[in-house]
Symmetry: C2
Subunit: 332 residues, 2 copies
């Protein structure tokens, strides 16, 4: 009898603790709130363990909630008086999370795409410049294949000088005679293209810096652009970190992969995606390319994990390991 009574007492004095976005609540055995701590700001909610510890010391003897009890507590919050607070705090919390979601790798993805687009834009504009300037000086236009060099020459040297360098007199040139205004319109255009080239350079430097900050280990293995493209395709450094090496190996070859999965007999699985631009792969003999890609992806998978958890720098070591492996497969 005494035993039963003490059991009951123990049960009665048992308490429950429940935390949500509003605060931390202490409830007695009948689920009446006997104490609560309302969060003052979202920081307190983020560190809710501190408050919970404090309350645990104060009241002791907490029982664990079972599903049934939890349901009842949750029903308590169905009360209209909580709604406004719930909504307000959720908005604040969500905003904070959105704000915090802008990490260095978010910017990195933007920069990679910017560089990609600048390349496309520059190509498009240079193609137009070639056609336009080609009416004036077709010989130089045809001779200079490199885009950047071509735009620089258009800007810096006159037609006579350029033709003279090729040993062509301007009477023999196929280009028409243009007025000074016409030529200066072309030069204005060329000037802006040159500036876009230098913008691309600038953005590349910025990308280098970002990569060095976010993932020095992977960058040591892949270089800036390929590494950044891997992160871009994965969506974030965190997601890339979660990928197995086999996935990293074929990032960027999704189309080929699904073609293979639909029709295995006809289509071999892809050996590499973005990685195929990497010198470790492109400099290797054809029959070893797949192997090299697997090796590289293995090491990248390790490097990304080290980067994500801010481990020490192992990039050089990893790189040397592959270099040793790949040496014997290299093209002569």
């Amino acid at each position: 009898m005494i035993n039963e009574f003490s059991m009951l007492r123990k049960k009665m004095s048992g308490k429950y603790m429940f935390s949500n976005i509003l605060g931390c609540f202490v409830l007695d055995n009948n689920l009446n709130v006997i104490d609560m701590h309302v969060w003052k700001n979202s920081q307190e909610y983020a560190d809710k363990e501190k408050v919970e510890e404090k309350l645990k010391k104060k009241y002791k003897k907490f029982l664990e909630l079972n599903d049934k009890k939890e349901d009842k507590i949750l029903q308590m919050f169905h009360d209209q008086k909580y709604f406004e607070q719930f909504h307000k705090r959720n908005v604040v919390y969500a905003k904070q999370k959105v704000r915090e979601s802008v990490q260095k790798d978010t910017l990195l993805i933007q920069v990679v795409n910017t560089i990609d687009e600048l390349d496309k834009v520059i190509n498009m504009l240079v193609r137009r410049l070639r056609e336009w300037y080609g009416y004036y000086n077709p010989e130089t236009t045809r001779k200079i294949q490199d885009n950047e060099k071509f735009v620089e020459l258009v800007l810096k040297k006159g037609k006579k000088e350029l033709l003279g360098e090729m040993g062509i007199s301007s009477d023999v040139s196929l280009g028409g005679e243009l007025s000074k205004d016409d030529v200066s319109a072309i030069k204005d255009y060329a000037k802006k293209i040159i500036e876009l080239f230098s913008l691309r350079e600038q953005q590349k430097d910025y990308l280098d810096k970002l990569m060095d900050e976010i993932c020095p280990n992977m960058t040591a293995l892949t270089g800036t652009l390929i590494g950044a493209k891997l992160i871009e395709k994965a969506g974030s450094l965190e997601r890339l970190m979660g990928f197995p090496a086999s996935t990293i190996q074929i990032i960027g070859a999704e189309k080929a992969l699904f073609r293979h999965m639909r029709n295995k007999s006809k289509n071999l699985p892809p050996k590499y995606g973005i990685l195929h631009e990497h010198p470790f792969i492109s400099n290797v003999k054809y029959e070893f390319k797949g192997k090299a890609a697997r090796q590289l992806a293995d090491k990248i998978a390790i490097a990304v994990k080290v980067d994500y958890f801010k481990g020490k720098f192992v990039g050089k070591e990893l790189r040397e390991k592959i270099e040793k492996q790949i040496k014997k497969w290299q093209k002569k």
Copy 2:
């Protein structure tokens, strides 16, 4: 007998004249060359009538060549000794023609395309800027719809100032906090976009000047851009001049036209192509748009012909005529 003899004499003394790219040749009745004038330069060939006149005065009594005789003369030039000269002169002549083919309207087409491409490029770059800057300050990004204004604001004002203008404190903004370097990378990018906007303005001014030079009459009717696009689609001012009004009316609607021609019952013929951007058409009630386009195309066809043959300025007159016509069809 005497008669016959004089006839024969007359025949004997008859001479033929034959000009080609090498020179002007005088041949006797048996088609032997008795005199020739070899062109000294391509200019002489262009003005060959002068030399021909001179030779005609010197020898008199030229007979007309018939086909048979001409065949024989042409065979004479099959001789190998002429080949090198033929080739050389043809190259010089062709080069000259190519050089001369670069007219103001050739440049105009390049400039129209340049402006079109700049618009595309600017749109593409601003779309990226919006995404990128949107991580930093999404509220302003969403609010400012106009691209040029948006880029200017990004460049000129800080985040705090921009948010302040909308009455948002930066704690409530959804944008993440970026370091100074990150923001300046965005600003470098925005700066180049602003410069592209001003390049577009510059090229537009240049286009205005070209249009005023080439076709003041058409420009008075169509404005710079639409007029330039008409020339671009036609290929040159000369070709546009050759088009009937009905063709000018539907330039730029080739797809719709051929769809109509393939399947007349299902697809109505197009009413206008490039012209639909013209305020004379866009400001007119729907049911009169076709009529307005026909009127406008009529007048453009006249204006282009005047422009091509360098007639006096009638653009204003033509424009007033349509304006009067169109007034009653305008949207209220």
